[in-house]
């Protein structure tokens, strides 16, 4: 029997599924997971001025010393930047200002993008001994990490409450404690490729037994001009839209943080997405 708790956090519908019959345990696990989601949201959301990210951005230009947990996340982002040769970059969010993903054909001109590029690039950031200094005007955005991190951490909290099987699903970033009580798989409906309008595949059933699964991509967020579709994922090195990016990439990995960065990187490969995933040997589903 699966007992489910629903709540909304981090701009997404969230759920916790607990495979047991004891409602008290399920409620306790649900509360622990929700508390962890809210803790991480309030700490790392860029929309909250009092969050660590909000303060870092407001204090751009000033060195700030971060607490231990924030250091770990920034270190993680820095290492992801290095391992991906600069493709994964938490400073690239500022490029949103040039793009408006409203389904119209408004495409920013090169000058607009060029004006923003001096504010983009992890290499322009000073990160040393736990002290982070952004250049004035720069911003960071843990959008590609924080929700995934929250899912992984929430699962850990759940396991600390009880050893019953648990599934955590934060807006499509999901992870499980292991197989269900009967040894079977979890079955979840995800909005992986939500309606492009002309497609039939509005959602997908996903089955999972261990580890985590995340999905990158959202078909609604694109700009189409002269028959060419510009995806919402931007190359932080050029500021330009990735050409030939798939509509969605779903990755299976032991943890959400790992799967999340991998799915972002796969999207950034554009037409080379499938080849990249094959070369990296990860379990993935690509929807074009």
């Amino acid at each position: 029997m699966v007992l489910t708790t629903h709540f909304a956090a981090m701009g997404s519908p969230c759920e916790v599924q607990v495979d047991c019959t004891d409602r008290a345990i399920a409620a306790r696990i649900g509360a622990a997971v929700e508390a962890e989601a809210r803790r991480i949201e309030s700490k790392f959301s860029r929309y909250l001025p009092d969050s660590v990210v909000g303060q870092i951005n407001a204090l751009a230009g000033t060195p700030v010393t971060l607490d231990a947990e924030s250091r770990l996340l920034i270190d993680y982002a820095a290492h992801c930047h290095a391992v991906s040769d600069g493709l994964f970059d938490i400073t690239s969010g500022i490029l949103r200002r040039a793009w408006t993903f409203d389904g119209s054909d408004r495409v920013p001109d090169a000058a607009q993008v060029a004006a923003l590029l001096p504010l983009v690039g992890w290499g322009k950031v000073r990160w040393q001994d736990g002290v982070l200094t952004l250049r004035p005007g720069m911003e960071i955005d843990l959008g590609g990490i924080a929700k995934e991190y929250a899912a992984d951490m929430a699962l850990r909290r759940a396991r600390a409450e009880s050893d019953v099987p648990v599934l955590v699903n934060f807006g499509g970033d999901l992870c499980v404690s292991g197989p269900r009580a009967d040894g079977g798989r979890w079955r979840v409906l995800i909005d992986a490729v939500e309606g492009a309008g002309d497609e039939t595949a509005a959602a997908a059933w996903l089955e999972i037994e261990t580890g985590a699964i995340t999905t990158s991509g959202d078909a609604r967020r694109y700009v189409e001009r002269a028959g060419r579709r510009y995806s919402h994922i931007l190359d932080p090195r050029t500021g330009m839209s990735i050409v030939g990016a798939p509509r969605a990439v779903t990755i299976a990995a032991p943890t959400c943080v790992e799967a999340g960065v991998m799915s972002t990187l796969a999207m950034l490969q554009g037409t080379g997405c499938e080849a990249f995933l094959k070369q990296e040997g990860v379990t993935a589903w690509v929807i074009r």
Binding site: S70, D75, D129, Y149, V261, V282, T283
Partner: protein, 469 residues
Amino acid sequence: MQLNQPDAPPLRKLGRVAAGLSMLSANLLGASAALAQNDSDGEPQIALMKEPAPGPETFVYDASVLFYKESGSRVQAIEPVFTIQNYQADGSIISGSFTFDSLTGATPNGATPSTLDQTFNSIVREKTTSTQVTSTGASGGGTVTTIPGTAYAKSTYSVPANTLPLASFHDHRFAGTGGYSWLTNPDTRLNAGLGASVERDYTSFTGNFGIARDLNQKNTTLSLAINLEEDISRPYNGTPAPFEDLNSQIGGGHDTRTTYGVLAGVSQTLTRFWITQINLNLSGSKGYQSDPYRVLSVVDPTSGGPLNYLFENRPRNRTRESAYWGNKLALGPTVADVSVRYYHDTWGINSLTTEVSEQVPLGGSVYIKPLYRHYHQSAANFFAYYLVSSSALPAFASSDSRLSRFSADTIGGKIGVRVFKTGEFYIEGESYRQTGARTVAGAPGQLSGLDLFSGVHATSVMTGLRLRM
């Protein structure tokens, strides 16, 4: 559509990127879990920095106005200050400031009060009478009359009985500074600065040069600085000779003073929440140190009444030493500053300043910073409220309350609001009160019953806007 995990756990023979991510992710979650167990909730999420310096290619503008008022119709000042700093891409910093003060009011002329009205006659050079500082007395009307056939005029003002004699004045001051600071290597910063301050009767030039070196991954900073100051005093009525009578025709022109100082400091990050700093300062000055407008009453040894007034005389040499210990502590979301300063000089003044302030965020973009400061000093060994006519003149004497033994308490506060994303609007207020001995044991005659202390109670308000762009 259905996405199924493969039946067998996937054989994870990963590529370079995936393998790297896999290891990083495991480390992240492992370390985070360890943190959660250690319960780091009490730790502030953002801690203070040793050098909260803006990033490169930034301008910081700060415009403020200080309003200062002493109670009892004493000094009033309005002081707008404008500063600009430019942080350049190579780490160098160009800075400049400009100040224009307007001071009006009255300041003690140094004489003791008396149970009778007192009249002060001073002889001033006639050509300067239009700018004569004491052209009107604060406590009574003043007149200036030409002495026929001479280049001098007589300036007269009266002070009522039982009143501390004050001389009124009005002055302006322009001051400017410029500085340049640059890195010779990533850990060594040099800085040089020049400054000038001009009043109608006083001009001051300063220069400084310093070096600061970061060690130990920037957790330690050593600094050494030297500074020079040259002051030129051009009193309206000329520079009086030591203990010259107020009524005499003053012959002295301008006089100068030269000051050399050296400062050595070390700043150390002890923990992420505690930065401490120690500064040692030594300076020596040579030259004219007296106040050219300040007199002392010479009183009758029996009645205590004033007989005449002599210009004060301070030693021409002064060596100062001070030690400062400051601490910055992050306590939860607040930042506390706690400091103590000990000072000693060859005039015999020893002082101790203790100060505590705490910056408290009020949520949103507002913070408050209450402040308390206590100061106590011993008197200079030549301080005297008055001179007695029957005693020989001492080598030096001054009745300036700033050289007397006194305590001062300052209570203040600051409110800052973040505006325009990178700016701050602030208002600071301070109330400063000096307390000291009002009477002198064994004072002759009438002086035993009069309040001789001329310390001040001042209120200041400063408001400003700081913008970083």
